[in-house]
Amino acid sequence: MPTGPNPTRRRLPRGPRWAAVLAAGLVATPACTGRLDGYDPVTSQGETITDLFSLTNVLGLLVALLVAGVLGYVLLRYRARRPGEPSRVHEHRALEITWTATPAVLLAGLFVVTVLVMVDVDEDPPPAENPLLVQVVGNNWWWEFRYPELGVVTANELHVPVGRPIRFEITGDDVIHSFWVPRFGRKMDAIPGRTNVMTVTVEEPGTYQGACTEFCGLQHAWMRILVVAQTPQEFQAWVALQQAPARAPQSDVALQGRAVFLRNTCINCHAIQGTIAQGQVGPDLTHLGSRQILGAGVVPNTPENLKRFIRNAQEVKPGVLMPQFQTLSDEDLEALVAYLEGLE
């Protein structure tokens, strides 16, 4: 090695040690931080998928350890400072066949399992299990959930019963969105002009986070989903509540608020069942007061936030398609919010 720099003077410096610390840290961090929703399903279909995921993780880890192990061994064993000439072997047919055939066989096995899982989780539930139909419509930038068999329409907050298959029929109203609740175990795109079907059976009651995962424009980030999985009884109670037309205003202020709502352009886009407001562009507000979030997750549903949203929607959620009602008097706004928050 006549002219080359001789960088082998120093042993592998602190680098590898730092790398080891880094690796340990990287693997350890998630353990002490958040929960891996995407690896902790609450649906039977998600369980199956996650089992398959685990299988690929185990196989992948083995491959990674094999490569890292051989690489580590080679780097320690065959350093230039060791005496002797480099080996002249540069072919080995048996080895080549081994490392071609072994992965091929493993992958063939993985493929078989993959197809089995695909078929299994895509299977339509038998009618005997009484699947619940939920139509999911992705909009810029909010979700509509329709329960056509129950006559219920809601937005951004999805209520489902546990133990009963739910058949989601998913489509997009404008651009492509994607419906993803990590703890369901999978996602499905919401494509305008197409209807995709995804069936899950939620096994555990609880509230779960979800979000749109296909970039859909300005407010893709705030197109979140809140899932409330309930026992059949709780779900029935919720359905009964939702099926009722909007609750009549309970106070004078709220009564005034309803008048504000009905005489403004609110009704062009929003529907409140039991009133003349039948707009279909924005979320149905019939039971707005019963929801936990506003603007598809951008803020919690509180009277203060609702006021800000009505008056300064562009500040709360820049780009949102709702106009700003800045000319409303404070009194009218107060009344409007009292009315809307009373719609439970």
Binding site: P2, T3, G4, P5, T8, P13, G15, T29, P30, T33, G34, R35, G38, Y39, G46, T50, F53, T56, G60, V63, A64, V67, V70, L71, L75, Y78, A80, R82, P86, S87, H90, E91, H92, L95, W99, P103, A104, L107, F111, T114, D174, V175, I176, S178, W180, P182, R186, K187, M188, G193, V197, A211, C212, E214, F215, L218, H220, A221, P318, G319
Partner: protein
């Protein structure tokens, strides 16, 4: 020791290069163009890196308000688009431009002027794309620009147009470079460089070139359709008119997935050059490595829909693309194992170049493993479009391609500049980069599993999200420091670096046989290659060539020519080969247009269908076009017999028939327009006019070329075209191709759908 002359490419006299700065604008020298490629994409890399840092700052804390959604969406779109079209692809093409001719012992690329044109197209496409910042409307639709988000009314500004036009221009330059690389390797290899002696980097560059030729055209077709949709009222991707958003995805990913291998195959090539040199061993399993590259080329064209597992395709379709995607892991694994085999038993020198090459192996392996997970369809359903996939492709393209590029920079900088990069700074560069990279991208796996979607400008304060994101931002900062160290190293080493000499690494491939930097003519004499590692030959017996050639030098024997593997393709002239390569690319382009027509012809929501077409009329003027192929063959025969007059007459007949065809098509269009069958009427007319219109444009281009031939042979000129003129041959191949395309279009559109 055999020497060569005669049939072998001699060092042509170097085209005169201008001095000074102007020389860089007029250069056709592959080395200077290579440097321009490397520098330009280096600048784009810095721009793109700044964009990434701004994104990381915004994401450092939950619900941050550092950037608004508008700015963030522009940044991630431009970061992705720039990294793919303007950084990794052209950096690798820049290395190929500079080193591929040197590695095969050639004087330059096969088409030096086309090479310069490619670079300038690449630059102007990049500048056009970035001009959008000046207008304040940088693309904000994601690098794969899914329709209908890119359609009006969802994108009313010109941002989608900047994206489509900027990348379109750049792509044309990239296709031209690809063609050049392929023809160069086919025709300009040094004597004795048989296919089994071609360096792995050259092999991988050829595969990359072919992949570019066969992948990019569907992107071009899709971009043209998008622009027509946005500006001329066609309906290709408009769901309200029956257009199918999935068609965009099919056309895009036909290009988009091979593009990943376009960015990875040359990286494999660099690794395969660096590792043997610093392990002091020949590459292990050469034949398997090369074959694996060919298999990757083949399979990568069959896996595009694995980006679409969540769009609701049927189980068999998903299974097919899942299987094809898994199979790709086999040749990729072969490569990894062969690199390990190369290291085994070597005497490893830990230079900076080698450190980057070594780190490439585990980092790329991580990306490969998660890649297999994405081929497992149900796992993809869970992880796609989340930070898990962001982690995956950054391990493939960052830990993979970029680390290989850095290895290439440290390995080849001495050859380009004549000076070595500083190894101490190099080590700092490597370790900061390695730590910063992993700290940035490894936690993304977990974030994805925690439920964080990709492409969100902010996120709710859910447990653990803030901490992991902050760690990544710190990692991005460390990576930025690594890039600054690299820049500093480049700067100081260029000024004060140790002189490199011809072959500082004791390497074996031909680029190290000449001086550092190499002279404009590359080699004083054409090297003769006797093995896979030519510089291991006891001495490199030079062959004098060019004007100063030694007349006494014995002729190269036919044996040596056979050895150099001059097969059927290699016997064609470079121009004809270039035309064939171009046509293979055009086949894919027309495949995209014809496929679109077949997809759409009976899916219009309302309005006319193919039944409005006047088949007998079209059949009549089609006959003129078909006949023109015959007259062109007759013309060529006359030229071969030396009859320039006969050639000219038949050529003019060909032109006349071509004009007749165009006139017929004009009549057809006119009568359709009178019946209100227009480009934007419905899906059928969109597809019909676009397909036949592009064919007409090709006929026109053919006619112009034929007219140029006729002009060259006009009466009263000198010798003009010679027998077997490569130009005449290439143009005639093109004309026959245009004819053949019409046979397909006529059969599909008029014979099948219209009757």
């Amino acid at each position: 020791m055999a020497v060569a002359s005669g049939p072998y490419p001699r060092p042509r006299p170097a085209p005169p290069e201008r001095e000074g700065l102007l020389g860089w604008f007029t250069t056709v020298d592959h080395k200077r163009i290579g440097i321009l490629y490397l520098l330009t994409s280096g600048v784009f890399f810095l721009v793109s890196g700044v964009e990434a840092l701004l994104m990381r700052l915004q994401l450092a804390t939950p619900e941050a308000e550092f950037l608004g959604p508008g700015a963030y969406n522009q940044l991630f779109t431009m970061h992705g688009t720039t990294m793919i079209f303007l950084v990794i692809t052209p950096l690798l093409l820049g290395f190929a431009n500079y080193f591929l001719p040197l590695m095969i012992g050639a004087r330059d690329m096969a088409f030096p002027r086309l090479n310069a044109l490619s670079y300038w197209l690449f630059l102007f496409g990049g500048l056009l794309l970035h001009f959008s910042f000046v207008e304040g409307r940088a693309p904000d639709v994601g690098w794969f620009a899914y329709a209908p988000l890119t359609e009006r009314p969802y994108t009313t500004t010109s941002s989608a147009d900047y994206w489509a036009l900027g990348t379109l221009v750049t792509s044309i330059g990239t296709i031209a470079t690809a063609l050049n690389l392929v023809v160069t390797v086919l025709t300009l290899r040094a004597p004795g460089m048989t296919w089994s002696r071609v360096p792995v980097f050259v092999w991988m560059s050829v595969f990359t070139g072919l992949l570019i030729l066969w992948a990019f055209p569907t992107l071009t077709a899709a971009q043209v359709m998008l622009l027509l949709d946005r500006h001329l009222g066609t309906d290709f991707f408009k769901p309200a008119e029956g257009g199918d958003p999935l068609l965009w995805q099919h056309l895009f990913w036909w290009f988009g997935h091979p593009e990943v291998y376009i960015m990875v195959l040359p990286a494999f090539g660099i690794i395969s050059e660096v590792i043997p040199v610093f392990a002091r061993k020949a590459i292990f399993g050469y034949a398997f490595l090369v074959t694996a590259g060919a298999l990757i080329l083949f399979y990568s064209l069959l896996v595009w829909a694995h980006h679409m597992f969540a769009v609701g395709l049927s189980v068999p379709v998903n299974a097919f693309f899942g299987a094809a995607s898994m199979i790709i892991a086999v040749p990729t694994g072969i490569k990894v194992f062969n690199w390990l085999g190369t290291l085994w038993g070597g005497r490893i020198r830990f230079t900076t170049a080698m450190l980057f090459a070594l780190a490439f192996i585990p980092l790329f392996t991580i990306g490969g493993i998660t890649g297999v997970q994405f081929a497992v369809v149900p796992v993809d359903w869970q992880t796609t479009d989340t930070y898990y996939v962001v982690a995956h492709f950054h391990y493939v393209l960052g830990g993979g391609s970029l680390f290989a590029i850095l290895a290439g920079i440290y390995y080849w900088f001495p050859k380009i500049t004549g000076r070595l990069l500083d190894e101490r700074l190099g080590r700092w560069n490597f370790w900061t980069m390695f730590i910063g990279f992993n700290l940035t991208f490894f936690p993304m796996h977990f974030l994805g599993l925690m439920g964080m979607p990709r492409r969100v400008y902010t996120y709710p304060d859910l447990s653990g999200w803030g901490a992991l994101n902050l760690a990544q931002t710190v990692g991005a900062g460390i990576t930025a420091v690594a890039v600054l160290i690299l820049l500093w190293n480049l700067y100081v080493s260029l000024r004060r670096g140790r002189p490199a000499g011809d072959n500082p690494w004791d390497a074996w491939t031909l680029e190290w046989a000449t001086t550092s930097p190499p002279p404009a003519y590359n080699f004083v004499a054409v090297p003769v290659v006797r093995s896979r590692r030519p510089l291991l030959q006891e001495a490199l017996p030079p062959v004098r060539g060019g004007a100063g050639g030694d007349p006494a030098a014995p002729e190269a024997g036919p044996a040596l020519r056979r050895e150099a593997g001059h097969g059927v393709l290699e016997r064609l002239s470079p121009v004809s080969l270039g035309m064939l390569a171009f046509i293979s690319s055009e086949v894919v382009f027309f495949g995209g247009l014809i496929g679109t027509y077949v997809w759409y012809w009976d899916r219009s929501l309302a309005g006319p269908g193919p039944e409005v077409l006047d088949v007998p009329l079209v059949a009549l003027f089609s006959l003129a076009l078909f006949a023109s192929s015959g007259t062109l063959v007759l013309a060529e025969r006359r030229l071969d017999r030396g009859s320039r007059r006969g050639f000219r007459l038949w050529l003019l007949a060909t032109i006349g028939l071509g004009l007749l065809f165009l006139a017929g098509q004009a009549t057809e269009y006119t009568s359709l327009y009178r019946e209100d069958v227009r480009l934007g009427t419905n899906l059928f007319t969109s597809a019909f006019f676009t397909l036949t219109g592009f064919h007409a444009a090709h006929v026109t281009a053919g006619l112009v070329s034929l007219a140029a031939l006729a002009w060259l042979t006009r009466p009263g000129t000198g010798p003009g075209l010679r027998r077997g003129s490569p130009a005449a041959n290439a143009i005639s191949i093109y004309w026959h191709f245009v004819d053949a395309v019409w046979v397909v279009i006529f059969s599909v559109v008029y014979l099948w759908t219209a009757t």
